[in-house]
Amino acid sequence: MSDSASSPRPAFRQRLGGNLRWALIAVACAAVLVMPAIDFAQRAYWVRVIGYAGLYIILGLGLNVVVGFAGLLDLGYVAFYAIGAYTYALLAGSQFNIHLSFWLILPIAGLVASLAGVLLGMPVLRMRGDYLAIVTLGFGEIIRLLATNLTGLTNGSQGLYDLDKPLLFGLELKTGTHYYYMIFGLLLIVLFLTYRLDRSRIGRAWIAIREDEDVAQMMGVNTTFYKLLAFGIGALIGGLGGSVFAAWQGSIFPDNFNLFVSINVVCLIIIGGMGSLPGVIIGSFALIALPDILRGFRDYRLLLYGLLLVIMMIVRPEGFIPSRRVQLELRAQAPAEPQTDAPPAEQA
């Protein structure tokens, strides 16, 4: 067992680990901040890849509220991303000739997505985990089908293009670097928000629901309210991400919002570590940026995701950087089983 190695001098190891960790975080943050300012050969490419990974971190943090904190498996997260993106595209483009400011649309998109999340949540949150997963999966597909088929509203598979570019104090945000910093800023806000949520009364209520809904209810937690809240906040963050995506691309198509967006986000959370914020960041880099960088292996990305999901669940269900609580929860069942029980299950 790996815990026994750390037991002799935990305090020292923890202090060293803590300092080292902060140093690494500081270096990584500095590198990410400075990178677009350095002039090197493939700068535009790297800015795009890291910016994209940042966008996925935002999505991951949003879904993490639903899956990681509250323990509700949502496989249709792309729906909220799509709603956010279409809200921006409709309110800042030529489709209906409405041209609102990006900074006004951002909260609107978040609220619209959040509303959709609560509306979806109300009927389905009474269901058990696996039902919820299938219904949300279906919801994600419905939104994509609607985006494809409601041609009057969304222009169908032709997509919406020539969307307005956001203005920031008179500066038109149009280069990759602008969006890179915008995503970075939004990411910090979302990170702070989810960090605070995790450590608040709300976060503790979510954990109670995740661990045992009946007990949570008996302890006086209004489970329906907190589940809806998780759904709403997750959807809100997804909607924000969607608007930024639409503004960045300048055009959106229903195919941008296929099932694989949801799967990517779920995978990065699980591989990073459910409920863990650093896990989401590492997971996003591992799953979104790495395959882009290692071009040759990009074809095999989904194949490896699939394999990785199965292996992770068997070998390390808590992810690479687990949240300590989730780790305890997932491992809790092991001691209840006598150790000798494992081999017989293997041989039959």
Binding site: M127, G129, Y131, A133, V135, E141, N149, V266, G306, I314
Partner: protein, 340 residues
Amino acid sequence: MEINWAPFFDQIINGVTVGSFYALIALGYTMVYGVLKMINFAHSEIFMMGSYTGLFTLTILTNLGLYERAPLLVVIVTFLAGMTGAALTGVTVERLAYRPLRRAARLAPLISAIGASIFLQELVRLLPNLGEAVTGISIGGADIFPQAVQDKVVSALSSFGGNYPKAYPGILNLGGIDIGEVYISYGRMIVVVTSIAMMAFLYFLVMRTRLGKAMRAVSEDKDTAALMGVNVDQVISRTFLIGSALAGIAGVMVGMYYLQIKVTMGFIPGIKAFTAAVLGGIGNIPGAMLGGYTLGLAESLGVLVLPAVYKDIVAFSLLVLTLVFKPTGILGEAVSGKRM
């Protein structure tokens, strides 16, 4: 005023045909749910594997010239191959991805199932590429496999899987008969009759045989069943085998009926069949059949009222509505004490 009933009857026949596919696939979901209380997410890919294995066998047999000589035999072998392919996939997935997680936390098997589902889809899609990569390995500049071997392997694998949709021979295109103004093709009749025969067989198996009794016992209470001498792992394995074989039959028939298959073909029928299983009462075998036919009919009759593109939306909405208002489904037993 004369009402033209012909389109109505056409849609009913269509609905029964599609409903047969849903019912066959739904049985797999329902059986697995019955014994494991878990949704086998990879079931739609097991269905897809059945379809691909069937096509692969059919292509080989046709290339050998056997189809001209004994068409019926070739079709039967194709169905058996489809069943075998799907059943092997199902049992392997259960063994590798679900069994190690039998005692794990609630979300773990579900995520593992999603992983298995993605993996299978991508495996079939990338088979030719994988074959090329593996046979193309060279050590110190010297190829291990000669070029001829590589070409053979790649062409064999491309006739199994690959990125592009594959054409299925239209074996069920046998003509049909006119009853009044309504035309019924023999292909549809074969689909419906085969499905109903399979379901009757399954019902007999579960209700009248020793294995069926063991399955029902495991479904009731795994630990008590084990105490009574039931080999739980074996029963679960066989449940996967039977459910997957049925999906394999559906896979071959869907290929022959729609004439084209692709690696993502399982997704929509998979969700529909799951809807059918829930609609009829998940875990309940007659319920899965009833749900399959209800959904098939609801969809095809919905086309008379709504544009065809809303067909999928009708099905998903039906799923949500069932789960909200009657989560136990039409024939589901009351699952008292268990939260849905």
